[in-house]
Each structure stands twice: as C-alpha cells, then as structure tokens.
C-alpha cells in the first residue's frame, strides 16, 4: 500500500517509521526546513520538503496513486484541506486527519473529512473510563457501520439492578454485549442478574445514548 503522510512531527515521523517497517511504501511531507533535514537523516528519500497545501507538492509526492493520505500537521485547516483535496481532486480512497483542537471537529465533519483522530478526545475518553464519574462513556464510533459502543455504570438506584438480563426491555436498536464486575468482564446470558456497580457495554444505533441512559438509570454516578 502507498501511504502519503503530511507533517513530520512526532506523530507523522513515528507513523512513517512503523508503516515502513511493515513493508509499506511511504512518503512523508514536511514544510519546515530544519525538521525536514533532521527527519531526512533517518528516512532519506521517503521524506520530501514542501508545503502540502500546494497542489504541486502533493502531485510531486504522487498523491493520485496513494491508497491512503494521513494529515497530521499541527494545523487543523491544513489537515482539513489536504484531506479534502486528496479525496475530491485526486480521488484518494481513504484519508485520516488529525484534529488538534477538538472544537474544530465539527468543521472536519462539515467538509466530509472522516475518520478523524483527536488526541485530546482520546485522552478525555480514557479519563472517563478510568474515572467513571460520568456514568456513561462513549467508547467507540463506527460511523460507516452506523453503530456506537458505550459503557454505562449501574448506580445503586438503577432500575435494572437486581433484574435478569432475560427480563430487560432493552430499547429497540440496542444490545447488551458484556458486563464488567469486580474487575473482570464476561458476556452475560439470559440468567445473568445485573447488580449496581456493574459496568455494562452496549452496542447501539447512533443517537440512542440518552434513551439507553434513561433506561439504565438517569443518574449513573459512581457509587463510592
């Protein structure tokens, strides 16, 4: 696979190295001269100097035969437009963009740039997972498959605590997939009785979060 990476910061450089190790063809584009010289000592001909916002720089790097374009510069506008041009002008099948400021995520969506990766969002989710004070954690979005996976903590007063899975009336379009109890996870069967303090994982159609949250107990705050 031919991968074009824009931005030779920590993320771009390491990505390039990993993908090269896996045997892929990689070109990394960097527009800071000093940084380019540093990275070039290791990656040699796999790195090119230039501003990938300019079409000729992308063309010189062979954008139209790229299977994947990854834009990981520190500038959200650059990342958005590099992906937009790659997709719409050069017909690149797959792009991945980095979001630096999570508030710009809506603009990536507006321009049809997906998927996007936001380190801030990832760390926030990790915090929510490690410190389950919010009750509901959004674990994974599969926009193309139109599915979401979420985690819910059952509060002491959860209306489903003490009930068998077989007796649950899960909202249409949602499914309970696993239960985490006392540090271990298992796949529940119809006879499993839910307890307060359980963390349950559910897969659902997009936009059903609130309904599911209401069903499992509106106030899913930690019991400690």
């Amino acid at each position: 696979m031919y991968v074009l990476i824009v931005g030779a910061g920590k993320v771009g450089w390491n990505l390039a190295r990993e993908l090269l190790d896996k045997g892929h063809e990689v070109t990394l584009i960097e527009n800071d001269r000093d940084r380019y010289v540093t990275v070039e000592q290791e990656l040699e001909h796999n790195v090119q100097y230039g501003d990938a916002s300019e079409l000729w720089v992308l063309e010189r790097a062979g954008v139209s035969r790229a299977d994947l374009v990854i834009a990981v510069t520190g500038d959200d506008e650059d990342n958005m437009l590099i992906c937009q041009v790659a997709k719409e002008k050069y017909m690149v099948e797959q792009t991945i963009a980095r979001v630096n400021n999570p508030r710009n995520k809506q603009w990536f969506e507006l321009l049809g740039i997906a998927p996007v990766v936001s380190a801030t969002d990832l760390i926030l989710r990790l915090i929510e997972h490690e410190v389950p004070k919010y009750g509901l954690v959004h674990l994974l979005d599969l926009p193309r498959e139109r599915l979401e996976i979420i985690e819910l903590l059952l509060a002491d007063d959860s209306p489903v605590a003490g009930r068998r899975v077989a007796d649950l009336k899960m909202p249409e379009g949602s499914l309970l997939i696993s239960v985490l109890r006392d540090g271990t996870g298992f796949v529940p069967n119809p006879e499993t009785v839910l307890q307060s303090g359980d963390e349950v994982l559910a897969v659902l159609d997009p936009g059903m979060e609130e309904e599911l949250k209401a069903y499992f107990g509106p106030d899913g705050t930690s019991s400690d």
């Binding site: 916002s53 300019e54 079409l55 506008e77 437009l81 041009v85 710009n104 809506q106 603009w107 321009l111």
Partner: protein, 144 residues
C-alpha cells in the same frame, strides 16, 4: 461580513460602509480595529461599523459578528487555508447567499472555483498585469 481586517479587508469594509451597507468585521487581532478607522473622522462604531475579535473557526465569534443575518461573506485573512475553510463554513453551515474567498495560490483558487466556491485570486491578477506589461515592452524592443 468580512473576516480579516487587513489592508484588503479594512478597505473593502470602509467602501461598503460608505455605500450605505451594514458592515461587520471579524479579526483575531484587536489592533486591527485601528486599521478600520484609517481616514475616518469618527470611530468605526460611530459611523455604523461593527468589529468583533475572534477567528473564523470559532462559531461563537461568527455568530457574535452576525453571520446568521449576513447577505454576503468575504474571507480575507492573510491565510489561504483559513479563507478556504471559513468560506465553506459560511456557505455550508450558515447558508450565506454570497460567499467570496480570497485565495493567493492560483492553482487552488482555480480548483475551488470549479467546485463552486467563489474565489478572488490577486496573484492571478498580478501575473496577468505583469505579463501584459512585459509583453508590451518586448514588442517595443522588437520594433526597435
């Protein structure tokens, strides 16, 4: 509404105001306000102008500057990428009827124009003018 009150944005803002339109400028630099008042006898606000500090990527700033009631939106910051992104925001998200983006890079200006974005490319204008002048000079030399 004009984003970017630099030399181009501020001159356009004053011209539109003189023509009797309601003008609102958005710029991330609070000092840009002073540029709007060049040649004016009274403060920008007193002559009916509006000025908001913020960037075109901040939804609150766009709204504070009145994008929801704008009839025309001009993206005239000093960054091509910013202009291309915010022009698309104005068009797609806020459905502003007339959106114009200043793009210095002629190749991208051309491509985005083909995609239906109204663009102005000062570089292309400069190239054409220079070309005409130099060709005239060359013709003079050839004539002896």
């Amino acid at each position: 509404m004009i984003v970017g009150a630099g030399r181009v944005g501020s001159s356009l803002a004053r011209a539109m105001l003189r023509d009797g339109h309601t003008v609102s400028c958005l710029d991330e630099d609070p000092e840009a306000h002073a540029r709007l008042e060049i040649g004016l006898e009274k403060p920008w606000e007193d002559v009916g102008g509006q000025f908001t500090v913020g960037t075109g990527l901040e939804i609150e700033a766009l709204q504070a500057a009145g994008i929801e009631r704008a009839d025309a939106f001009v993206a005239a910051t000093d960054g091509d990428n910013t202009n291309i992104v915010i022009a698309q925001i104005a068009k797609r998200r806020f459905k502003v009827p007339t959106v114009i983006a200043r793009i210095l890079d002629p190749y991208r200006a051309e491509w985005y124009e083909q995609q239906g974005l109204h663009t102005i490319c000062p570089t292309r204008v400069a190239i054409e003018m220079l070309e005409t002048e130099v060709k005239e000079a060359a013709a003079k030399v050839a004539r002896g």
